[in-house]
């Protein structure tokens, strides 16, 4: 810190001198102001630190890292504590202590008996935040416990807990000791949940002569008492986090981060140091353990406990896998793509018949991350038997391979002492990658700090031909560049050293290092290479994410006293060949599109789904287990490519309808498609079905505006979306900005400062948002020539409100200088566009594909329009998603009236079932578990929507936005509205050939003309003043 201050002072003096000596003093005064007032005071300070040496890697704004703390423990010679300290819950003597727990903030302390799914009751702290109204303060809420340490020493924390919310996310908490964060890694420590398989593996019905493909049983959360030691969030450490506690009274604070949970116990356990295998072996010998007898095979997929839904059965089509079938897909392995994140554990029961020493072997596939290994920690009954088992590496190889644990270290492999019924677990850890990951993440930080230093001097769009004199302002620029280069090369070497094969990604580190060398040699190149500079940081982050992605698929575990006794299945060359041809043959025989036909006793309905195969399989499973037994209605689920269900262009749905083969129900259609078909009598209205009102109340009423036409409702919403404002908390803090709640605040206070700093605001709300906030609408009703009133008969853009809104909208670009085109995702990460409005897709991108800004961004409501009289309009848009609708198969002759009457009741009961909260919530969690976190299912059912694992207070912001949303009605000829508004926008903003009013009036004319032409075509009445084409 001292050197940071020094650096700042030196800089100030330097700048002052410059100011005196140059004629353009004002320019430099500005720069100096920027630098001294803003980020550089910190960032350049951090840079100066780096100059001093290796340990300067930690920039000043970061806390202490665990590795530093550990080094300190070692230096001070701290020893493990001697006895367990119970902070909360029952101790070993059965005495309950509440740790004098105090709620932080408004958290109420509720300690009562809680019974889990297995009917085990424990006295516990109820930490239930799902119902918390004002979530904005949630982050700092928590509980503080007081406890006494009898003997100074190192302790780890073990917690007993039970999850209570079925969301596919870990329970995370921050740990503070005596009100302080002991090290960075104590934030967001995960407590895993317990997942179990529900049901059996079943098969699809593909035809009488063939065995079907296996269907995965669903994985559900089991709400049972769990006990787990506290690790760091990414399992970079192979052992539980150690805390040094002095003798005396201390407090422990747990802060809420995500997921409610019930805590039954919190204990400090003396830290254990793992013994080496040598000691383990000699201890076993001393205890007189002998080699066991027998050879045992445990199928990987028979794992009996898992703490993540990602640990699930997988298909492997390599003939050397167990349970291989030539003709169909068999769930013969476990893990794969989704068993990849630190901490995820699979547990098997050892089937040995007598206690003794055994070797453990595995058949597995690890063909991910070219050249890099995957690591797993092997524990027996939850304990690491010896240090070598803390991280076992599974080498990269294309295809199936075998491993005998420890064979590369000890001749014949490690001997484990196993008793019948012992639990063998494999947990994802980062192994030898830990140091690489930490180092790379730190390098990215250094690069980004350097970038923001340079950016202060050059601006966001520097002139590559101008000499900014970077070296004058950033004294140690060359040192920093060289430092980054050397560190990258070191990482490169380390990766090469720990990988048995040359990993695919190492050459990239080298080429990035070369970039830094180039910039070091000629700093004049830097202004022209700002994109490459940030791009390099992004690339490194991507590779870090890749490295952390520790995938592994296990086919079989072998247990036998010697390697030779492993009961291995061998597959030769011809098996592979046969497999290839059988698969080829089967590709002609199988109907891959029809996921399944479940025959019902009452009726069968045909459903087309415009989603991927995984979505359909999950749906089919749910139907089979839940819907068909309940109603007796069979459902045939067919996969149709999404585009084939729209009312645009020739597509399967339209053609099938004309030819009388249309499905009964379409899932994943658009509201617009429903209306387009409905106008032509091809979709059946649903508002007269039984309980329609009750079912409609499951959704936001606004969603029905998108699928209602002339008083008839034609579809039920399936999914929805949202529009919120994203901002970078770190940049806002640095620039001293507040989150604007109105447009006036945004354009008055925020944007000028952004522009001063060469930053931008990104707007995607379109004209809709502004129009709705001004109280306008796209269409309005009118009387037709017969005096009958029709909704949405003419465009609503010919009003003063619409005009005002259009001026406001175009002014954002013409007056306030917003940019029409920005790559928001990238620019937001670089900090060039620290604030913007965008939808759910962007949300997921930031959440999953932007790890470098994790925790540095937040969402806020969309700015509101404040009127002169002080009233505020906070209307939003952008919630429309997919719909499901019933095809009217009477008009095309597929069914008679009576048949359809009966059929439609079945279809409606399916729609009712499908949109239920519990069905949707279950589907959402399954989709997320099977496809991945990025496939979050935004159910249109409000209750189910709330059930997803939203971060902190995000859910409240999102729901606020959704509640106020207005949906634009779909009308006959409505496509003209969007079209001509785009044209009007182009005329006013892009080519600037027309003033807003003229531009909008041109659009109004065209839109009305089209609306009325269409209405006339379909004989739905036109207004008096309509002029028509013919």
């Amino acid at each position: 810190m001292a050197s940071a201050k020094l650096g700042k002072k030196v800089l100030a003096v330097l700048l002052a001198a410059l100011m005196l000596t140059t004629s353009s003093a004002t320019v430099f005064a500005e720069i100096a102001e920027d630098i001294l007032g803003g980020s550089v005071s910190e960032d350049i300070g951090a840079g100066s630190d780096n100059e001093t040496g290796e340990e300067g890697e930690q920039s000043s704004n970061k806390g202490t890292s665990y590795s530093d703390v550990k080094a300190e423990y070692e230096a001070n010679g701290y020893k493990p504590g001697s006895s367990v300290i119970t902070v909360f819950g029952e101790n070993s003597d059965g005495v309950f202590t509440d740790g004098s727990v105090v709620g932080v903030g408004e958290s109420a302390v509720i300690i009562e008996d809680f019974t889990d799914e297995k009917e085990v009751t424990k006295k516990a702290l109820i930490w239930d935040y799902t119902e918390k109204g004002d979530a904005s303060t949630n982050k700092n809420l928590g509980y503080t416990f007081t406890f006494t340490v009898a003997e100074s020493g190192l302790y780890t924390i073990r917690m007993g807990y039970c999850s209570i919310a079925a969301a596919n996310a870990e329970i995370t908490r921050n740990i503070l000791i005596d009100g302080k964060l002991p090290f960075n890694e104590a934030t967001g420590v995960p407590l895993f949940k317990n997942y179990v398989e529900q049901g059996e593996v079943t098969q699809t019905n593909v035809g009488a002569n063939y065995r079907g493909d296996d269907i995965r049983p669903s994985i559900v959360e089991s709400f049972t008492w769990m006990s787990q030691s506290v690790y760091d969030a990414e399992y970079l450490e192979m052992y539980p986090l150690q805390f040094y506690l002095e003798e005396g009274e201390h407090t422990l604070t747990l802060e809420f981060l995500s997921q409610p949970a019930i805590f039954s116990s919190i204990e400090f356990v003396p830290a254990k140091t793992a013994i080496t295998y040598k000691d383990y072996a000699s201890a076993n010998a001393a205890a007189g353990y002998k080699n066991g007898t027998g050879s045992f095979v445990i199928e990987g997929e028979d794992c009996f406990a898992r703490n993540s839904s990602g640990v699930r059965r997988e298909f492997n089509t390599d003939p050397s896998c167990s349970d291989y079938s030539f003709s169909s897909k068999v769930l013969n392995t476990i893990g794969g793509d989704n068993w990849n994140e630190g901490g995820e554990t699979a547990t098997w029961k050892a089937t040995v018949t007598e206690a003794g020493l055994y070797r453990i072997g595995m058949r597995f596939e690890q063909s991910w991350n070219e050249g890099l290994s995957s690591y797993r920690q092997l524990t027996i009954n939850g304990e690491i038997p010896f240090a070598e088992a803390a991280a076992i590496n599974f080498d990269y190889k294309n295809g199936i391979q075998d491993i005998t644990v420890g064979a590369n270290d000890v001749d014949g492999g490690y001997l484990f002492y196993l008793e019948p019924g012992d639990e063998i677990s494999l947990t994802v850890v980062m192994g030898k990658f830990s140091s690489v990951i930490t180092e790379l993440e730190d390098i990215v930080d250094t690069i980004m700090n350097l970038y923001s230093d340079i950016r202060v001097i050059t601006g966001a769009n520097p002139d590559s031909n101008y000499d900014y004199g970077l070296e004058r302002y950033i004294k140690d620029l060359k040192t920093q560049l060289m430092g980054i280069r050397n560190r990258l090369l070191a990482v490169n070497d380390e990766l090469l050293a720990i990988s048995p094969k040359r990993p695919g990604m190492v050459s990239n580190f080298k080429s990035i290092a070369d970039d830094f060398k180039k910039w070091h040699d000629d700093t004049l190149l830097i202004p022209g290479a700002m994109g490459t500079l940030t791009g390099n940081a992004t690339n490194i982050t991507t590779w870090v994410t890749e490295i952390k992605n520790q995938r592994l698929e296990i086919d079989v575990l072998y247990i036998a006293p010697t390697e030779a006794e492993f009961n291995k299945k061998e597959a030769g060359f011809f098996d592979g060949l046969i497999s290839f041809f059988v698969n080829l043959w089967m590709s002609f025989m199988k109907d891959y599109n029809n996921v399944d036909v479940t025959s019902g006793s009452v009726d069968n309905i045909d459903v087309w789904v415009g989603r991927g195969i995984e979505y359909c399989e999950i749906l089919r499973e749910q139907i089979k287990r839940d819907f068909t037994p309940e109603t007796g209605i069979g459902v045939s689920v067919n996969i149709i490519p999404g585009g084939q269900l729209s009312a645009n262009g020739t597509n399967v749905l339209m053609l099938s309808y004309i030819s009388g083969n249309a499905p009964d129900l379409v899932l994943a259609g658009g509201g617009n498609d429903a209306i387009e078909f409905a106008i032509r009598d091809a979709v059946y209205p649903i508002e007269n079905f039984e309980n329609f009102d009750e079912i409609a109340s499951r959704f936001y009423p606004a969603l029905f505006d998108g699928c209602t036409y002339e008083g008839h409702v034609y579809a039920l919403p399936e999914t929805m979306n949202f529009l919120v404002m994203y901002y970078r908390t770190d940049i806002f803090d640095r620039l001293g900005l507040y989150v604007p709640s109105t447009w006036d605040e945004l354009f008055g206070d925020i944007i000028p400062i952004l522009y001063e700093n060469d930053m931008q605001f990104w707007y995607t709300g379109g004209y809709d948002l502004i129009l709705y906030q001004n109280g306008g609408s796209f269409y309005r009703g009118d009387y037709d020539q017969d005096g009958k009133y029709h909704e949405n008969m003419r465009t609503g853009l010919d009003t003063q409100t619409a005009y005002d809104a259009f001026v406001q909208y175009t002014d954002m670009y013409n007056e306030h200088g917003l940019q029409v085109m920005i790559n928001f995702y990238n620019q937001f990460r670089y900090g060039d566009v620290p604030i913007g409005i965008a939808d759910f897709a962007t949300y997921m991108q930031f959440l999953i594909a932007a790890p470098e800004i994790a925790g540095k961004w937040d969402i806020a409501p969309i700015p509101q329009t404040k009127f002169e009289d002080g009233t505020v309009s906070s209307a939003t848009t952008g919630i429309g998603g997919n719909y499901c609708f019933i095809m009217n198969n009477v008009t095309n002759g597929k069914y008679t009236e009576e048949e359809f009457d009966k059929k439609s009741k079945s279809i409606w009961s399916f729609m009712e079932w499908w949109t239920r909260a519990d069905v949707q919530a279950y589907y959402a969690s399954e989709v997320e578990a099977v496809i991945g976190r990025d496939a979050r299912w935004l159910s249109a059912n409000i209750e189910a929507f709330k059930n997803s694992a939203w971060e902190g207070d995000h859910l409240n912001v999102i729901i606020d936005s959704q509640e106020q949303a207005i949906v634009t009605p779909n009308v006959l000829g409505g496509y003209y509205t969007g079209r001509h508004l785009t044209n009007a926008f182009n005329r006013t903003v892009v080519s600037r050939t027309y003033r807003p009013r003229d531009s909008l009036i041109m659009a109004v004319k065209e839109i009305n003309k089209e609306l009325w032409t269409k209405r006339e075509e379909y004989k739905t009445g036109i207004p008096d003043d309509a002029y028509t084409l013919s």
């Binding site: 032509r680 009598d681 008009t891 084409l1029």
Partner: protein, 309 residues
């Protein structure tokens, strides 16, 4: 053959007739499959289209008779059609002859080069890719943000100060479409030209040299061009039909709908009516007019390039 002389003239004529009938029958048999397909996939759709152009039809409900109303609207009351027509004509005039001449020019240059096959492959390969694919690749060059290749370098060299919105600015959309089309105009006509050029007997050139032809350009004017008439006809018809059928590239570059209809083409207008508005009758009228236009232009080409013996 010995008794031929003994046959009367009448007998000989009879045999000849029989032979001719036999021969022509065989010929017709050979033609029938092609004719059948031609009828099924060209004549019949044209006839059906012509019929529907006289109706109102939305593909789902039954058609109703409309008489000549669609044509009346098309000719008198469709402002957009005029824009589409204008765009298509501009496109056709720019790409048709230019593409044609480029294909011919490159074919001629390549036949005079050593590594013929290599260059042929180089020039022909891009046309194997679809229009959508090609324009997607070109979109990287014309991307609207400052990362687009052209924008990037124009910015870097200081020629422009802010990115050009290539595919959003009304003024640049059509030129971009024309540019991309020209870049991929080395299609079938190019191959036909190449074949034609290689088929011209060397003797002609040698004879011409003796007669006093001095350079390649004279060879071109007096031998190559006249000898290439059939191939040139094919190329010209191809170019015209291709130019009037522009759609894929226009949509990929300009979007659908394009800003202020700057990339609206004849086919685009047709597709819009057919598959966005489901006015099949009207769309049929547009397509009928397109068929008539291309047919007429084809006839004109045939007249221009007809071999005059």
């Amino acid at each position: 053959m010995a008794n031929t002389a003994s046959l009367t003239l009448e007998q000989i004529q009879k045999i000849g007739r029989r032979d001719r009938v036999k021969r022509t029958t065989v010929r017709y048999m050979f033609v029938i499959p092609a004719l059948f397909l031609f009828f099924l996939f060209t004549i019949l759709p044209l006839a059906i289209g012509t019929f529907y152009s006289l109706t109102d039809y939305n593909m789902i409900q039954d058609w109703t008779w409309a008489g000549l109303r669609n044509y009346k609207t098309l000719f008198l009351d469709d402002d957009l059609f005029l824009i589409a027509l204008q765009n298509t004509l501009v496109y056709a005039i720019c790409t048709g002859p230019t593409g044609f001449l480029m294909a011919f020019g490159f074919a001629w240059i390549i036949t005079n080069l050593k590594a013929k096959k290599f260059f042929t492959l180089c020039f022909y390969t891009p046309t194997l890719a679809s229009g959508v694919m090609m324009s997607t690749i070109w979109m990287f060059f014309f991307a609207n943000d400052n990362k687009g290749l052209f924008n990037f370098y124009l910015l870097k060299w200081g020629i422009i100060t802010e990115p050009v919105l290539w595919t959003q600015n009304v003024a640049t959309i059509m030129p971009v479409i024309i540019f991309i089309s020209l870049m991929m105009s080395m299609g079938n006509s190019f191959l036909v030209f190449l074949a034609g050029l290689q088929n011209i007997p060397k003797d002609y050139y040698e004879a011409a040299q003796i007669d006093g032809v001095k350079n390649k350009f004279q060879e071109m004017a007096y031998i190559t061009w006249p000898q290439m008439k059939p191939q040139l006809l094919f190329g010209a018809v191809n170019a015209i039909v291709g130019a009037f059928g522009v759609y894929d590239i226009a949509v990929t570059v300009g979007g659908n709908p394009s800003p202020e209809n700057a990339a609206l083409t004849w086919i685009g207008h047709l597709m819009d009516y057919a598959f966005t508005r489901f006015q099949m009758g009207y769309a049929s009228a547009i397509s009928f007019l397109l068929a008539v236009t291309t047919f007429t232009l084809g006839r004109i080409c045939m007249r221009v390039f007809r071999e005059k013996d």
